[in-house]
Amino acid sequence: MQFSFTSEQEEFRSVLRRFLQEKSPPSAVRRLMESDAGWERDGWVELNHQLGLTGVHIPEAFGGQGFGFVELGIVLEEMGRALLCAPYFSTTVLAATAIMNAGSKAQQEALLPPIALGEVVATLAFTEPNGRWDAAGIETTASPAGGRFRLDGVKSFVLDGHTADLIVVAARTPGSSGEDRVSLFTTRGDAPGLARRALKVMDPTRKQARLDFNGVEADLLGELGAGAGPLAKTLVQAAACLASEMVGGAERLRVSALDYANLRMQFGRPIASFQSMKHKQADMLVDVELAKSAAYAAASAAAEDDPELPAIASLAKACASDAYLQTAIHTIQIHGGIGFTWDNDTHLWFKRAKSSEVFLGDPALHRERMLQAWGV
């Protein structure tokens, strides 16, 4: 396991941080979060042309950069810090990873290069209105239809589902249950029979959609009936990635609270000189640094495809969720009344912390998964 970043990785991080500070200041976040799409194609293209970010962990053979999950984790940590409004988690983390895990070589050759180039925005539709985060919760069905398949059912909580060009869909053979005979499919976002509706989400910086499939034609990705394994692996890797994104946001909040406490004068001195503020800041530092250690351990385990990855990814997801939300709560508190206003930026990260706490499974679910993965 890797406990320090290489000089190249540190350099990559600082380039990225400067780039995102410039491209995604809170004013840009606010502009995009008010839009229906939640992101804009010009910014997305620039992100990929300048830094090749969508293909960071996609193999070079499929048009990507050929790096691994440690570099992907760095990208996500910095995007979480900047609260970048872009379909990155949906496209690169969820869809590209699912295609890499499930797809045949020919399918990867066809589907990954346009993603790596930033030409195609994609997502993974696996959750349904029942809100379950595993293959067993899938009710959407896939029926054979002349070499292709027809999808029927409802997907929900689909990241960027209303704007994605390409959708990876998890569905099951009619009459099956559990993890049995679950498969992955791909379909176009504008396919006939697919009704897409943006959901009203608490976190407007990350849009979600409900997708109604009524006999939508789709292509099989990977092997029929063998989708549960690749889907589960994708979700484990995504949990590790989300932990990185969360610790980036948490650290940004921690620092903003510290800056404010140093500036804010009450009773004739900066509130940062009061012990109650210092102790809160020290506690926040412990929470955030421990969560960073967890996220880095998970990224490293994902990069090495460590057998302990499922446990460590769940550990990191739970730990980072708790740390992010707690840091957000402290940050609002330290700001006092101003921290509860719309004009103050804290609520933007607070809402991301809240939605990330639940997305891919809440901390209690991941703690249980961690124990089970350890055989406890």
Partner: protein, 422 residues
């Protein structure tokens, strides 16, 4: 006679150390006899000055020599615990008299030492010490009380921080002494803790005496000298607790060393329980069946997460250090994180034990080990700097938050409000 080494290289140092050990080391020597040879040769403390039992080598070679000693199983000089702190402090601040009189017998292990800093009225605020030292007819006369003094009951000498002038602000009126513990003016009483162990002592001074030359540093410079001692204490804190890895080798010298280690370690035997014994949680939960309770499972998972992430954070700090990178905040959090782990562990052990958590001794779970955890954990967040002081240090030194205004360092110490001794 110590031969001088010009431009030492690792190979030269290693070769010299090896040759000397081949000629001198034997496990059938007595402990003091061997350490006397080691001290005379300078190989016991290679980076110390050659005038004072060392060889004047760069500190990097200490590890090379230690490596050669380990290779043949040679016992090192006595430098653990307060002995090491005394040696480091006297080497830095002591005069020739102190170095001449004390250093050799520290290194041979013939003398035991204790640290007389904390008082009932000044724990976190060490510079508020009330114990007085007054010069009378060429001797220092000491009156007052110290507390939390580990090993005072078998110490020959004490490192004493005492007030020599109450008319100066608190930090400026302190002086530092070496005190003979074997005198009638010094009384040592063991202090029984809530867990039943007695690892520490109270030390009472009633007209105890120290010769004038037992002052270390200048009169009024005691705080700076004490800071050196404390710095070495923090740096070595982990080493001090880990040192007692007694070898199981055969030979007269190892028997003597094992006896020495047993004496030094005696006060620390409950320390594993103080840290929460996370290692026992899963086996205990399986043994009691609590492992199938979803509420207990959540608490166990939280504890294991805390414990793993604290360990990973320490490894991040070590990895950064090994790469020569400036220390990040992750290196300052260990003590606070350890408190969180211990408290969480005590909570989980209680959940797992159920009603049995009320029992102790042979009636209690694991023959009383669980009970000892529950009544020892409260010490973790106090000993060696309370959690509150740790948070202040993190806030002020790592996060650079402004210090709180204080009302005790701008006036004579006699005018500062104090605790009353009962």
């Amino acid at each position: 006679m110590v031969e001088t080494v010009s431009e030492p290289t690792e190979a030269i140092v290693r070769g010299q150390a090896r040759a000397w050990l081949e000629a001198n080391w034997s496990p059938e020597l007595g402990l003091v006899e061997w350490r006397t040879r080691l001290v005379d040769s300078g190989w016991g403390m290679p980076s110390w000055p050659s005038a004072w039992h060392g060889r004047g080598l760069p500190a990097a070679f200490d590890a090379v020599v230690a490596d050669e000693m380990r290779r043949v199983g040679a016992v090192s000089v006595a430098r653990s615990g307060v002995r090491g702190l005394a040696a480091a402090t006297l080497l830095e601040h002591g005069g020739d008299f102190h170095k001449q009189k004390f250093l050799r017998r520290i290194l041979t292990g013939e003398d035991n030492w204790c640290q007389l800093f904390s008082e009932p009225g000044s724990g976190s605020d060490l510079a508020g010490a009330l114990t007085r030292a007054e010069l009378s007819e060429g001797r220092w006369v000491i009156n007052g009380q110290k507390v939390w003094t580990t090993s005072a009951h078998h110490a020959d000498w004490g490192l004493l921080l005492a007030r020599t002038d109450s008319n100066l602000p608190k930090h400026q009126g302190l002086s530092y002494f070496v005190l003979d513990m074997r005198q009638s003016g010094v009384e040592v009483h063991q202090l029984r803790q809530m867990n039943g162990h007695a690892s520490f002592n109270q030390v009472f001074f009633t007209d105890a005496e120290a010769p004038a030359q037992h002052l270390v540093g200048e009169v009024g410079a005691g705080w700076a000298v004490a800071t050196t001692t404390l710095m070495h204490e923090r740096r070595g804190a982990d080493g001090m607790r880990l040192w007692g890895a007694a070898s199981n080798l055969k030979g007269r010298i190892y028997d003597e060393e094992r006896a020495e280690i047993a004496t030094v370690n005696e006060p620390y035997k409950w320390y594993p329980q103080r840290a929460g014994r996370v290692d026992l949680v899963l086996e205990r939960a399986k043994a009691t069946g609590a492992i199938s309770d979803p509420v207990v499972r959540q608490e166990i998972a939280k504890l294991l997460t805390l414990s793993r992430t604290a360990e990973w954070t320490a490894r991040r700090a070590r990895a950064a250090q090994a790469l020569g990178r400036p220390p990040g905040p992750e290196g300052s959090l260990g003590k606070l994180a350890a408190s969180h782990v211990a408290r969480a562990a005590a909570r989980v052990h209680t959940l797992i034990a159920g009603a049995d958590a009320m029992l102790t001794g042979e009636d209690g779970p694991l023959s009383g080990v669980i009970a000892e955890i529950l009544v020892s954990v409260p010490a973790v967040s106090i000993a060696g700097g309370t959690d509150e002081i740790q948070r202040n240090i993190i806030a002020e030194r790592v996060l650079r938050m402004p210090k709180e205004p204080r009302s005790d360092d701008d006036r004579p110490f006699r005018d500062v409000p104090k605790n009353r001794l009962s």
